[in-house]
Symmetry: C2
Subunit: 549 residues, 2 copies
Amino acid sequence: MAQCVKKEDDPERPKPHYLPKTENYTCELVLRLLFLVSRTEHTWLFLDCEDLAATPFLRETNPTSQVVYINLLPCLLLVLGKTCVQYAVRGELYLRASELQKEGKKIIFTNVGNPHALGQKPLTFPRQVVALCQAPFLLDDPNVGLIFPADAISRAKHYLSITTGGLGAYSDSRGIPGVRKEVAEFIERRDGYPSDPELIYLTDGASKGVMQILNTIIRGEGDGVLVPVPQYPLYSAAISLFGGSLVPYYLEETANWGLDLNNLRQSVAQAALKESLLVRAMVIINPGNPTGQCLSEANLREILNFCFHEGLVLLGDEVYQQNIYQDERPFISARKVLIGMGLPISKEVQLVSFHTVSKGYWGECGQRGGYFEMTNIPPQTVDEIYKVASIALSPNVPAQIFMGLMVNPPKPGDISYEQFVRESKGILESLRRRARIMTDGFNNCRNIVCNFTEGAMYSFPQIRLPPRAIEAAKRAGKVADVFYCLKLLEATGISTVPGSGFGQKEGVFHLRTTILPAEEDMPAIMDSFKKFNDEFMEQYEDHRGYSRM
Amino acid sequence: MAQCVKKEDDPERPKPHYLPKTENYTCELVLRLLFLVSRTEHTWLFLDCEDLAATPFLRETNPTSQVVYINLLPCLLLVLGKTCVQYAVRGELYLRASELQKEGKKIIFTNVGNPHALGQKPLTFPRQVVALCQAPFLLDDPNVGLIFPADAISRAKHYLSITTGGLGAYSDSRGIPGVRKEVAEFIERRDGYPSDPELIYLTDGASKGVMQILNTIIRGEGDGVLVPVPQYPLYSAAISLFGGSLVPYYLEETANWGLDLNNLRQSVAQAALKESLLVRAMVIINPGNPTGQCLSEANLREILNFCFHEGLVLLGDEVYQQNIYQDERPFISARKVLIGMGLPISKEVQLVSFHTVSKGYWGECGQRGGYFEMTNIPPQTVDEIYKVASIALSPNVPAQIFMGLMVNPPKPGDISYEQFVRESKGILESLRRRARIMTDGFNNCRNIVCNFTEGAMYSFPQIRLPPRAIEAAKRAGKVADVFYCLKLLEATGISTVPGSGFGQKEGVFHLRTTILPAEEDMPAIMDSFKKFNDEFMEQYEDHRGYSRM
């Protein structure tokens, strides 16, 4: 039974109320009654520990204090119990960088993989097609051929013919059937196995797809999801938002961010026995974000075997499949490996794979287009996912057209083919060179070691911070890598994301930067970084030792 | 403690397993162990009632039976406990209509407010601007002036100048600051009170905004949200998806779908005392969907007063604010009424208002653009909502440009002004005539009464079904209005949504249709409807009586 406890030493909170003792009130109802009283008299609510034990959502907001006091007016209304969502990619560093930019400082935003924002030009052909779809009346204009090539015009007519009402009409909630067919054909060409358009759902970007699937899997905090650490914080944030539990498995930096099956097994066992979690799903990011590694076929087989024996749904985040910067480990999809493993595994492991128009050499982030493909998901679950997709009616239609164009680009012989190849190869080859410049640049800096970016769009160097830097950070009330990244930002304008935003082993520090700044700016950026870093190390190093490797 | 119970009479499920009795296992863990056993031996799990009591998520899936048997393989993996989401707008009727269409039958889709799918032409000027933003290289083409007017060109340049990287770059997660400023200026012109762009977030359509706010408000099944009945099923589906509880309040059909405060008070009291729910928010849809009524200023004042005294967040779904078909009750925003009420209410009632580019005379559903504006939401909650918005990075950028254009259309003197006015007035005036044709058509049918569509895009006639029709439906295993709508679909190709999808009083039946079919087709559609209805009534009427009014 909730009671109000007077907290004598706080003159700001003068009017505690005592409730009549009634066994029939639930905690929620008591809170509501108190709230109604407080509405008119500006009273604060005091709860003693006994109440907390009976009111989990309050206990969570303040787990250590003996007495909790709450101004009921704002916090009962909204968001209480949901304040735990963290999202580092747009966190403290990003906010500070935005402030500095407003003050006139030149900021190099490397916090998000957002190529066009850093000057990457869009591919011409797909933009021509979508522009024509947006302005279908141009197709009747006698001058249209003066500024649009014939293959863009005919492709626009094709896409308009497979919609009902053009870009302004809701499509089927799963996406335009004709585009899903194009996606299925792309997957079949890529993997060598047929793909079913009915199991492909188009989404407003891959993140929205991941969120929908996680929302479907998670029923409550007893449900665990295995997530690699370091991880892209979409996963931690979405799992927290939907009320589930993240179960981390560590990638091994010294083994080029490889995945060790023993770590995985240990994570699941610990989650089950210590936290009573039911692990229901596992996430892999291939190529890795922020870690940049490409998974080998052998590693993928191990993972799929593990999912089979543990009964886990595998979520394959494969949005960087076109971003590969070495030849030893080309991208191979989880689906291709799964089907190649044969029965019973090929028909039993449930897999959801994600892709997007935001990455690759497209970088069409702002269009928000993506898809997910379901393999071995039971039909009634597929129906359920369809229903949930229907709530928001349909993914945006222009980005569906971009997805069609991405999986079905101009072919040899088409008018726009050569231009398309020239543009896309130019972007990919430059990214490959930039990955190399950046890794070498970081490895050239005092107290920094960095694995090569095999794929994706990021560099994730380890910063071996001297103990005095860690102490200075503590005095400033900052996590040590946040402290370092803030100093870097102030000194150079380079806006990165501290490794703690992705998770890292205790006492080890990183930062993440994209490899996206323009190639011609890259040497100057790395020089500026090196100058800052060397001065930082000089300032804080006392030759007693470093944070461990 | 979970035990497996053998169900002798079922030869399909032969291998029950008994678990070792250990007090330390939680129900979830027991299920997990059983599941791992079943993975290899295809065992089914049998649970007796005692286990059910301890395992709420199982109890919910099958509340009546004494013994539950589950094939663990599919259902433990995904979605168990989430199968309750219903979404009638794309439900049984829609699926059947899609089938019939595939078979070659001509279907008139009036199930979703999707104007372009029914032939409404997009407004020319905004499409020109967005096409140019998609293809910015056209701005350097000497021939661009041959097919685009100068004001579209200069507006496209303006929008590109306020993005960082054009339509292909993620914007700020709240939307492009310059567009949010245009929205704030629109709200100020509309309401006569200043609006703060920092409290306006752009979204991928209004539905996504509603879902985000409901996800923020709902912490668990103890949280109630007041929703009008009949209601647009976005609300019931999203509340169910996020695990909250819908608290219905009934609109009065005989009072032109008006809202009675006594009904509201009764709903809250009942929810609190009978179901121990904490009602945290209230939804109004103005103009109403599916009911089409416009709320008066007096009614809005009553609602805001109620929210003040009950401490509720008000969600104002105002997506149909441009769709008004009478002059007695023009649209007035909840925000305008709230601020006009003065202190303390104007500073205390928390309000979130929603708008979209999908409705009005725009009908740009497929673009997925919307916004929500927050009034009196505490700053820390606004920050939290920003963080959640950041998880999916940004709303799609093309639709943000559409939103800018919607709130800031061509002005007198602009080259495109006259065309824009001609197009938009043409659409609105035709909708007004269609609303009248449809209402009159329904009221002209046997056993049908229909309130006039004052606003929005729907007609919601009451069908007084004869007892013999209700009996026939029961024999067919259908809800009576579903039975009627299916017969209508098969006979005429008109695809509607049964009233039960929106909620209605017990024993009263409706259907919802949009008023969107082309004006020239309208008389034929209403004739075809009348013919079907009169024959249906003739077949089932025995003059004993009807379902009650």
